[in-house]
Amino acid sequence: MECLGADQIYLYLEGELNKGETAVIKEHLSVCPGCRKALADSKLLLQTASSLPAWDVPPGFTQQVMGHLFPFRPALSQVLLTATIGSFFIITGLLFTFIYSGQSLFNFLVSLNRTIFEGLSSLTVLGARLIKLAALVVKVLYRFSGYLWESFGRLTNILSPEVQAGLIIFTLFISASLYVGFKRKLLVGEKR
């Protein structure tokens, strides 16, 4: 018998051959040192591969996947329960305050209402004042821009087009000069 194919060796190692094939291979291995060495080599490879440590799954991975599959949505009963418990604590707190303050329940509720009302009314007054101030600023700016526009209109009626053009050029020149002047002033001491 000629030497074993590499595929035969692997299938033999994995127990994938029938009894007849297995017997023939065993017989050949008993007389062929080369194939025995190849067998040992292949066996080592498969054993090493099978013994590789498994990749770890981090703790909480299952919960993470479940969290993606079923995002938490509180049921209506849970919401109602939370609201009931919350209300209970608020009422209990109010009762304790009432007992320790020594006031009658009526007076306590009146003072509580008054405090809330005063706080709200102060905030309302402050808001109203701010709105009034903003309205005043807008009014002044509007009037000022109106006067400016009117003056400019009157001036263009008095002056001839040539003088107007001259004034525009003069204004532009002054603006450019100021711009260049400021720039130089700012660059003093810097390398050119």
């Binding site: 595929d7 590789l52 479940m66 993606h68 079923f70």
Partner: protein, 186 residues
Amino acid sequence: MIDDKELIHRTLAGEKEAFEMIIQKYQQPLVNYIGRTVGNYEQALEFTQEVFIKTYASLHTYQPHYKFSTWLFKIASNYIIDFWRKKKIDAFSIDQQDQSGNKIYPIQIADKGPSVSKHYELSQLREKVEAALQKIPPALRELFVWRHMNDFSYEEMAEIKGLPVGTIKNRVFQAKEMIRKHMEDF
């Protein structure tokens, strides 16, 4: 242990805990398979999660005459193939050469050259197998991992891939030979 089909039946009936048990049962083999196939731990966890989400979404299409693990790994395999396609990784041309340009080996007489074991310790051998595994074509790597790390039978692998058993055996053999050759080169 509760049977997979029973767990699926319960999940479809609205019992979330049943699917949680499925996740607990298969998360380790899936992370192991996906991790070793794509070669990245973070991606392995992300892909495993996506595979479970896809599985849950299509659980109503599961046909009980299939083995559940086969169906689950088919979903995982398709997910990885999609990933390779998007990344334009050539995982499919396994008949010509591997990633290093080495030719894939035809079935041949057993190699009696230098031993892959030489005088290495087991830990060193493991490192070499891991390194060699990442050098072979992804499609062969996947089959090798299934066979020798997930302990799938050739018949199960053939069912997952929709290929004849002989083809699968030949490809797993090619994977082993390539790994062995790479180990000789190290």
